[in-house]
Amino acid sequence: MTTVHDVEQKPAVTSLRSKDLLGIADMLPEEITLVLDTADAMKEIASRPIKKVPALRGKTVVNLFFEPSTRTRTSFEIAEKRLSADTLNIAIATSSVVKGETLADTALNLEAMRPDMIVLRHASSGACHLLSRICRSAIINAGDGTHEHPTQALLDAFTIREHKKRLRGLKVAIVGDLLHSRVLRSNIHLLTKMGAHVWVCGPPTLMPTDIRRFGVTPTSHVEDAVAGADVIMMLRIQLERMEGAYVPSLREYFSVFGMTEARVKLANPDVMIMHPGPMNRGVEIASEVADGPYSVILEQVANGVAVRMAVLYLLAGGADYEEAA
């Protein structure tokens, strides 16, 4: 006999306050819940024979990527197409040496073509804020400098919620290059807002100043961080960090902080291992752990599309372009 489940609770809010998604820092817990609930509905679309709904038909979304990214860009593109939006990918190859047109000018030129939404990834923290002040389009932050990567945190939260049915009260350990990580910042904001207990772990050289003020427990002992953890999130450690004298060597980093099977055993038996990707196998995470039974890394990728569909849908609605104000 087939049964039908329906979830009848009405969400506390039915829309997002801001025209943009610039970061988790400005979101209310109710808004985060709305995004996750909407993503839940969107996820089902991926299992249909026709993976498309007409919700954003006729809307133009520009993926403006100043930093190369296959994963995030593809995820956004699929999300946009599944909502029937017209997508435009602009990949701007820049290096700090090549100056070229300013972001402000690029934005103004784009504005003239009236995109409904711009998904921006940029190497400078605050680039999305700048764009949001210049453009009337809705701006979605796909990663700005070391500031935030809100859709990543949302898809991480969605993945956790699917497994654990909640976020409140969970112990989440985040390990890695905390100083340079925008994923870290977004996750800290989100998890603390939703009532999780966040531990952050890394060498002091890679710890942001005043980290306690973010409402997390910092430690340089990875064993303490993962003890009893419900979720372990690994962050990428980059080769360049050796050059900045942040860590003596990647080999040493792995020995002190790397997520090995032995360390995973200190966590809860049903721990989730997460990583935003791309992974450095053997640096922050052992291959056995990345491919092991606790890893939900591939689910994160799948959930990314649903979460981004939810964000696009929630931001695209309402005000007509002309009347935005």
Partner: protein
């Protein structure tokens, strides 16, 4: 021509005067100060109630940008902004294009200043050629051409040995070395004060220790050489500590603080406008304890001068991502109001101390005339309006650039008039002063 400024409150700390006096100006000099002076053919200027006559204010740290960056500011627009801000004289920094590292550039600057004929301009020359930190500039020539001090401002003198030599050499001419104190390796590619707000916003930080390291170096070398060392734009409490210890040990060290460093904190990076590039300067806005330390140092006498570090940048240059924007904000036209509002009216310093900070001490440090209303002195006079309600409107400022974080601020205290060499160059229509 003779002018008699009648019935105003005169505050001249150098001469111990604080009371109602008449001031007689004859030509470009102060002829007499006294009570009930006879008119004797002078044009009488009645000073309205509530105004204060003091020695002309001197801003010892200003970037006039000419030669080379006239799109940001020119000597003409900069000196116009200066007199509107109550300053009768400014000392201008050498990081122009070309750098003021030789007598020709100095002469050019002085010629432009004469042409503008507004605030006096005292050029500060470079320590090293092109400020590259390799070879000393021709300091003697610079001195002869009219420079009053040397600095490689924009960055610290490249090495301790070069700073030592500069101190020794400039000491010969009794010129102070002014230093942008900083350790470049600690600074790295930082763009904001290393603290909670920079961490939240994902901005690379530079800690207060970075500036303090430079101050400590300067104190030690000043002690070693016996020459005068001046800390430019001090912002960190650790720097203040180092200055205090140096002074206690009798080292010839002086320091200045800019109004934004005694008013603002790094919280402004995030609110009201996140990533506002008008909150980006070097040294950066620091945390509340540093700001409070600056206030304490101003009150207890450790801080010698208030100087604006007026750094104009064109609108287009600031309308970029935070980490790509140039450092600096303007300050000439907001300094007096901020000083009144945050120091005098807040009860932290008395008016006479303010005048020491903005006139007496800058004149003393740079060894230029000014800072007093003595008879026979040049008639460089600022008439202040301590209770004037001022609303900062960036668009109306006389500086060519409008990069200020204070737009829209309402402050109490302003300038009524600015007189340079006996000529009234600025009169504020809101104070009913007229010449």
């Amino acid at each position: 021509m003779k002018r008699l400024l009648k019935g105003g409150r005169v505050v001249d700390p150098a001469n111990g005067i604080d009371g109602v006096r008449d001031v007689l100006i004859d030509g470009d000099r102060i002829a007499r100060i006294g009570t009930d002076l006879p008119v004797d053919g002078a044009t009488v200027v009645e000073i309205p109630d509530g105004l204060v006559i003091c020695p002309g204010l001197i801003d010892m740290h200003v970037h006039l940008r000419e030669p080379g960056q006239e799109h940001k500011e020119t000597i003409a627009s900069g000196t116009a902004a200066a007199v509107a801000g109550g300053f009768t004289a400014v000392a201008c920094m050498p990081n122009t294009n070309p750098v003021n590292d030789d007598a020709n550039v100095t002469a050019y600057i002085l010629a432009k200043a004469r042409e503008a004929n507004l605030a006096r301009v005292y050029p500060i020359g470079a320590v090293s050629r092109s400020s590259k930190g390799e070879l000393l500039a021709d300091i003697g020539d610079l001195r002869k051409a009219g420079c009053v001090a040397i600095t490689d401002d924009g960055h610290p003198v490249a090495t301790a040995i070069l700073l030592r030599r500069a101190l020794e050499y400039a000491g010969m001419f009794d010129m102070p070395v002014i230093e942008h104190c900083e350790d470049p390796s600690l600074k790295g590619d930082g763009v904001a004060h290393e603290g909670y707000f920079a961490a939240t916003l994902g901005l690379r930080g530079m800690p207060g220790a970075c500036e303090a390291l430079g101050v400590e170096r300067g104190v030690l070398l000043s002690e070693l050489t016996g020459s005068a060392f001046h800390v430019a734009h001090m912002s960190a409490r650790a720097s203040l500590r180092a200055v205090r210890k140096g002074k206690e040990a009798g080292v010839r060290i002086t320091c200045e603080v800019a109004p934004h460093h005694f008013t603002l904190t790094d919280e402004m990076l995030a609110t009201p406008l996140a990533y506002d590039t008008n909150t980006k300067m070097n040294p950066p806005l620091r945390e509340a304890e540093d700001r409070d330390a600056m206030l304490a140092g101003i009150a207890d006498g450790t801080v010698d001068a208030i100087a604006t570090d007026h750094a104009p940048h064109h609108y287009d240059e600031k309308k970029v991502e935070f980490d790509r924007a140039p450092f600096g904000i303007i300050g000439l036209e907001t300094a007096v109001s901020l000083a009144f509002d945050r120091l005098v009216h807040a009860g932290r310093v008395r008016l006479s101390r303010l005048i020491e900070l903005m006139s007496v001490n800058p004149a003393r440090i740079l060894k230029v005339t000014g800072g007093t209303l003595s008879e026979g002195a040049p008639a460089d006079i600022t008439i202040l309006a301590p209770d004037l309600k001022v609303r900062v409107e960036a668009a109306k400022l006389r500086s060519r650039s409008k990069n200020t974080p204070f737009d829209g601020w309402e402050l109490r205290g302003g300038v009524a008039a600015t007189i340079v060499g006996g000529r009234p160059l600025f009169t504020n229509p809101e104070t009913r002063m007229s010449f």
